[in-house]
């Protein structure tokens, strides 16, 4: 299983993805699900992926292969992230068309999703969610984030604290709490977590980091959150209306 999340805020973009891949409980491995394409001063493109690993890897492989041909539209020469989303969607469709029929013979799902975000010179920052069918949607101000993979456990905290004006530091903290909740409830989402932060208009990736097992910052956030939740829970009023105190 996978969990990836990306946020588009006034100040910039935050991306995070876990690295655990499994094909059955006895075959668990780590693969990066975050790809970064950065040309300082021109464009920063980040892709997060979930779903069938061979589909996602080869959709990106195909995209990179095409990007070596300057005579066709590719992710290094198009003028907008919308066109990169089209290219990635088409690449995903091509791979699924080639491999899907063989996978279907063994009831293996070739499905895959991408989150694509970043900035190309001349454009504002943009963030897209690419569906398994190759079509896609774009994040708007009202819903400034996308998740893929095991999305539900980590969604409530994002809904509670994130809005357009949230600082990148707060947003990163929120993303880590969101991962903590997800990993507690789904063992197949796990460390390390890849994190990338992009500053609006910088056209260069500010920070990337991999949070490994035992990372002191992540541990202190995880412990602080767990203890805090239990304290808040204890301090909530008892449900008096049932006369439950007499039970």
């Amino acid at each position: 299983m996978t969990y990836c999340v990306a946020l588009k805020l006034k100040d910039g973009l935050v991306f995070a993805s876990d690295t655990r891949t499994n094909a059955g409980v006895d075959q668990i491995a780590s693969f990066r699900k975050m790809r970064i394409f950065n040309r300082s001063g021109d464009r920063t493109i980040v892709m997060l992926s979930s779903g069938n690993l061979s589909t996602t890897q080869n959709a990106v492989n195909l995209l990179e292969k095409e990007a070596r041909n300057p005579d066709i539209p590719n992710m290094w020469n198009v003028d907008s992230l919308f066109e990169v989303a089209q290219l990635l969607g088409n690449s995903l469709r091509t791979i699924k068309k080639v491999d899907g029929v063989y996978l279907a013979q063994n009831n293996i799902d070739a499905g895959a999703n991408f989150i694509l975000g970043g900035q190309i010179r001349g454009e504002p920052m943009r963030l897209f969610l690419i569906y398994s069918e190759g079509n896609f949607i774009e994040a708007m101000d009202e819903t400034p984030y996308f998740q893929i993979g095991e999305t539900k456990y980590g969604k409530p905290i994002i809904d509670r604290v994130i809005n357009q004006g949230t600082s990148l530091g707060e947003a990163l903290k929120c993303v880590l709490v969101s991962f903590d909740s997800t990993m507690r409830s789904n063992l197949s989402v796990g460390l390390p977590i890849d994190v990338a932060c992009y500053n609006n208009q910088s056209l260069n990736l500010a920070e990337t980091y991999q949070i490994k097992e035992g990372d002191p910052c992540f541990r202190s956030i995880s412990r602080g959150w767990g203890e805090g939740l239990r304290q808040v829970f204890s301090s909530l009023p008892d449900p008096e209306w049932t006369g439950i105190s007499e039970l």
Copy 2:
């Protein structure tokens, strides 16, 4: 959509279910998803249901019809809740067999799940989860609860605070927080919520209650939880390791 949860603790059982049913966004109605069969001093049986409403209603209708015949095993004369689970599973299979083929013609899922819990004289309390196929599992001490329907948003808080020794009052509070999280993230789960509490060995249902829109206790728990979460979040350490403070 539906959310139902039941907990089996040392002190007793707690059941809760929402009442919202929808068949498309323009056809939303309230139906009770909790049925109580209580004969003081002999047995208390509670059923929660999710899935296709006609399937769940008619599976219970069939069970009740059979219960009027004292010459066959039925939920009022069998000696254990295990047998009631068998009866309910069989009833579910019968209804799905009759109706399923017609529903399938219109791509309508006839699937349904039940949580079945309670106590029959001579037995300890028991709690079962009945799958859509009619088979079932029983809650053990290690995992003292079951959920059906929209289960993920409300699961983390249960995992964090519930264990065998949790009091019924705390458990009920936890269930309400779990509902609050679920309703915030899935609009198709909604008030009113039916709640029932059973005291171990009482062989009589202690408390039932319906939490309606504007219930002051639920509102204060909901508000306290939301504000508390944001406070805990603010108090968490900033993720210093990325140098994010300089962004």
